[in-house]
């Protein structure tokens, strides 16, 4: 390499520039991602904190501090990922490979649950199923005279159901994309040879899509084990703890050392599973969805099962999208969740402070805290979308144009690292990292900047992924010719890459906006009363027993997320090939 650098003028420029860019990007990623994680580990190794490791792993507290929550966490991960692959796979198969009625509607519907924040689904569950175990307001079903047993109202079962109905759309998206690439030649050959549907499914489709199934399963697993809102809202009354709720509890009561140790262990666990999933799929790095040959196979004819299967699919979608949304909206108007559809009042939205409602808390339009939280949240969404796409574009541009070398590999690896880190652990790491001043830099605790930086780092994998797809659409030769005419890096980026990729970038930015706006797990620890965000405000209202306010705020978040998601969908319809005939 050193030789090439000296040998020719043009080459030297290119080499230098690539290196400079790489060093820059690598430094940025290390500052954003590696240092916070490292800082957390170092914190737990301090002499007066290191005992936290033995408390968590071996002491008399370890059973409750770690092992029981670990057991719950693993059950949640295993059941939810299995359920998601089954449901997501089933729907993907229906949409991509069969002639089920309302294919397109099902396809769109199956991507929606992921747009709904998981705490919204948990709140909706409480509004419906809450029984009288903890007293206070009972849910709709109990209020209608049904006796809801504890196991259905609280704890593991509702957590599993809510999380499965949330994450299956992630599995759907991955599996549907993979099914769409199944080479029709294979299926047709089998059909000509007289193979029946089941045989084709087991013999061809399943083996070919195994990597996607594994990828879907491991992503759902990682999502489920790190989810905070659902077990926090549904688990506490029956004392069910997961690693993420334990981590939150420990930091909240000031036992920071123990909290960080639990966070590190949580990162390791989801890391191991994602890594294992990756290993299994590693033979198949290409996710090319459009190939030169091979047309779409004839759709599998469901015959008499068409309508029943359609009904099953629609039921799943109703339960995961329509029902929670309707319940949340209704309960933001109903004074009593036991009686969801009567005595509606707009107090929780428009009312002035009135001692008869929720200790005098005014409706959300008049509530300064909520209005402020809305502004902060919107600002955060926009800021993170911009910074995220900027860093994402920079990182993916660097790795796409200057592919070779250890630094490029490092950039790729590090930029995907946050995928392994549960949001709540990431939030904890950022408090350790920027919570105190570093040298001459001031501490960022409680500032907007901290939220933006942490959000950017946390969502970098998505930004880089979008950035990469976008960069690859823009042919390298355009840039090459610009370079020959003497255009500098910034000029090329601004005049060629960005304008050509603006659609994709915008779509990516919107998705990041949605992710940060509806996120709870990352911000729940970074939250300070003077810098509030909507999701945490909603969570706090819910745990204070002011369900209607929580639900009303959640409806606002939902509307924001869904509107933005639909916009992003429009901008990138091209990336969903399975919708085409």
């Amino acid at each position: 390499m050193a030789d090439t650098a000296i040998s020719g003028q043009g080459r030297r420029v290119r080499f230098r520039q690539g290196t400079l860019l790489k060093v820059l990007v690598l430094a940025l990623l290390i500052a954003l991602i590696v240092l916070p994680l490292l800082r957390t580990v170092l914190f737990t190794l301090q002499p007066d904190v290191i005992k936290a490791w033995s408390d968590v792993l071996t002491g008399r507290l370890s059973t409750n501090l770690f092992y029981k929550p670990l057991g719950n966490t693993l059950i949640i991960g295993a059941v939810v990922s299995t359920g998601c692959v089954l449901i997501g796979g089933f729907l993907a198969w229906l949409v991509v490979m069969t002639n089920v009625p309302f294919r397109k509607t099902i396809a769109v519907g199956a991507t929606l649950p992921f747009m709904i924040p998981s705490f919204a689904a948990a709140l909706a569950w409480g509004t419906l199923f809450r029984n009288d175990r903890v007293g206070g307001q009972v849910g709709f079903l109990q209020g209608s005279g049904l006796d809801v047993p504890d196991w259905l109202a609280w704890g593991m079962v509702p957590t599993l159901i809510v999380l499965t109905l949330h994450y299956f759309s992630l599995a759907f998206t991955i599996i549907a994309a993979a099914l769409a690439t199944v080479n029709s030649d294979l299926v047709e050959a089998a059909q000509i040879a007289g193979a029946k549907g089941r045989r084709i499914l087991m013999g061809i489709i399943l083996p070919v899509t195994t990597p996607a199934l594994v990828a879907a399963g491991s992503l759902c697993f990682a999502g489920a084990v790190s989810n905070f809102a659902t077990p926090a809202l549904l688990g506490l009354p029956v004392r069910m703890q997961t690693l993420s709720t334990r981590l939150f509890g420990m930091i909240e009561v000031g036992q920071v050392g123990r909290g960080y140790v639990i966070g590190i262990l949580l990162v390791l666990i989801s890391g191991v599973f994602l890594w294992a999933g990756n290993r299994i799929v590693s033979g198949r790095r290409s996710y090319a969805t459009i190939t030169g040959k091979g047309g779409r196979a004839k759709r599998f004819d469901l015959r008499a099962a068409r309508w029943p299967l359609c009904a099953v699919a629609v039921t799943i979608l109703l339960a995961s999208t329509i029902v929670p949304v309707v319940v949340l909206i209704a309960s933001s108007f109903a004074p009593s969740s036991a009686d969801l559809f009567s005595n509606w009042t707009t107090h929780y939205w428009l009312g002035q402070s009135n001692p008869a409602f929720a200790q005098g808390t005014p409706g959300i339009v008049h509530n300064q805290d909520i209005v402020r939280a809305l502004l902060v949240t919107l600002g955060l969404g926009v800021a993170v979308a911009f910074t995220g796409m900027f860093v994402g574009l920079l990182a993916s541009y660097t790795t796409a144009r200057y592919r070779e070398g250890a630094m490029s590999a490092a950039i790729t690896q590090i930029s995907f690292l946050p995928l392994l880190v549960p949001g709540i652990a990431f939030g904890a790491a950022y408090i350790a990292y920027l919570g105190a001043p570093i040298g001459p830099l001031p501490a960022l605790y409680g500032t907007f900047a901290l939220l933006v930086i942490a959000g950017t780092a946390y969502l970098l994998p998505f930004a880089v992924q979008t950035g990469r797809a976008v960069i690859q659409q823009v042919g390298g030769e355009l840039e090459e010719s610009a370079r020959l005419t003497g255009a500098g890096f910034a000029r090329r980026l601004a005049a060629i890459t960005v304008p050509l990729a603006i659609r994709g970038l915008a779509a990516g930015g919107i998705l990041i906006f949605v992710k940060i706006v509806r996120d709870l797990s990352l911000v729940v620890l970074l939250f300070t009363p003077t810098m509030p965000v909507l999701s945490v405000v909603a969570y706090r209202y819910a745990s204070e027993g002011f369900g209607q306010f929580a639900n009303a705020i959640t409806v606002v978040i939902l509307l924001l997320s869904i509107a933005a998601s639909l916009l992003a969908n429009r901008l990138q319809t091209k990336s969903q090939p399975w919708l085409k005939n």
Binding site: V134, G135, G136, V253, G446, P529, T530, G545
Partner: protein, 373 residues
């Protein structure tokens, strides 16, 4: 944003140099003298462990127009964690700290210099010394056993705390998770500290000496048995109040909550009543502290808020004290008459906590509770 955060410490230190002199004077100032300074500051931030801060906010802004009181309802436990994190970050968000959890407040906030005491000179001669030092207590608050008086018209359904560990009360005792709310951890700690009387109460209830089993003492034994009896943990006192107090229940649970929440019975449709005769004691009574944040951004307004919270010169303390002049809260000012509907403080049988003593074993009791969940 970035610029501002960098510029702030510099600006702050310049301001502080000048304000040290002013602050020394402020300690002696009357509310009338503080007012113009406070109005210049224009805003003041209060961290409060009670949701009643909302009512204080409205009353304060009416009494002192031009000063925006930003009240945040944050549990004591969380306040302590946040104030420590903020201090470490060199950020001062709050001006006034209104908090319970005295055992931790003394060691982790006062001794570390995160907060400092302030006694408004106007009322200083009307607050007993024990409530002025080391920090000013505005009132005494409680965490005691409460029951539903609609379902139990003849009085409390429990006469001895140990009954709560029997089959009759399985799954029917509610309280807030002691790991989430320090007041409840203080209650658990006090029960351990009172192990001797707990042992006597056991003897009285079951007619035999207590068999400690794995427990180190009678208090620990009680806590272990209580958790084993499907104790229900919730996340806020309002959840306890609703569970215990809600009208129209056939077989309501009992629970540990604030005696003063009885004030909301009418508004919320509850029938909460204190089980004052329960043996050996219904729970704890502890100070609610008001203090200044060290280097507060709005030092004059902060002092004005504390002055306001101590009540005015009218008979029951006026609008500042009104949210706290309720049955079940015991105001520390000696010239304010006790609330007529409450059990008089002298007849109230709850244990008075000794913050310093509580602090010594509190973490240990916290760990015990952790092993039970």
């Amino acid at each position: 944003m970035k610029l501002r955060t960098i510029a702030r410490p510099a600006a702050l230190s310049i301001m502080l140099a000048g304000s040290a002199w002013a602050e020394a004077h402020m300690a002696e100032m009357s509310p009338q003298d503080l007012l113009p300074l406070a109005q210049e500051e224009g805003t003041v931030t209060v961290y409060s462990f009670t949701s009643r801060i909302g009512k204080v906010e409205a009353a304060f802004e009416e009494a002192y127009p031009g000063i925006d009181l930003q009240g945040f309802d944050i549990s004591s436990t969380e306040q302590i964690a946040r104030l420590k994190a903020e201090a470490q970050a060199g950020v001062v968000n709050a001006d006034v700290i209104y908090i319970s959890d005295t055992p931790v407040v003394l060691t982790e906030l006062l001794e570390t210099g995160i907060i400092e005491p302030y006694v408004p000179p106007r009322v200083a001669d009307r607050v007993p010394d024990e409530f002025k030092s080391p920090l000013l207590a505005q009132r005494l608050s409680t965490k005691v056993l409460m029951y539903n008086e609609e379902a139990n018209p003849d009085g409390a359904p429990v006469s001895n705390l140990w009954e709560l560990t029997t089959d009759e009360w399985t799954g029917r005792v509610v309280m807030v998770d002691p790991l989430q709310r320090g007041d409840y951890l203080d209650l658990m700690t006090e029960i351990v500290l009172q192990s001797d009387v707990m042992a006597e109460a056991y003897q009285a209830e079951f007619g035999q000496a207590i068999d400690l089993g794995d427990a180190a003492n009678a208090g620990e034994k009680f806590i272990m048995d209580l958790f084993a009896n499907d104790l229900i943990l919730v996340s806020s006192t309002d959840d306890v109040n609703a569970a215990v107090g809600k009208l129209g229940q056939q077989n309501p649970p009992v629970g540990f909550t604030s005696y003063s929440d009885r004030r909301d019975n009418e508004e919320e449709g509850w029938a909460l009543q204190v089980a004052n005769d329960v043996q050996p004691a219904p729970g704890i009574i502890f100070p609610a502290i008001v203090a200044l944040a060290k280097d507060a951004n709005n030092p004059a307004a902060a002092r004005l808020v504390i002055d306001f919270l101590m009540g005015d010169e009218s008979e029951t303390g006026g609008p500042g004290l009104a949210p706290f002049y309720v049955a079940g809260d015991y105001v520390t000012r000696t010239d304010i008459p006790p609330h007529p509907d409450a059990v008089p403080l002298d007849d109230f049988t709850a244990w008075r906590i000794q913050p310093a003593e509580t602090a010594t074993i509190r973490a240990e009791v916290g760990d015990l509770v952790l092993t039970l969940q």
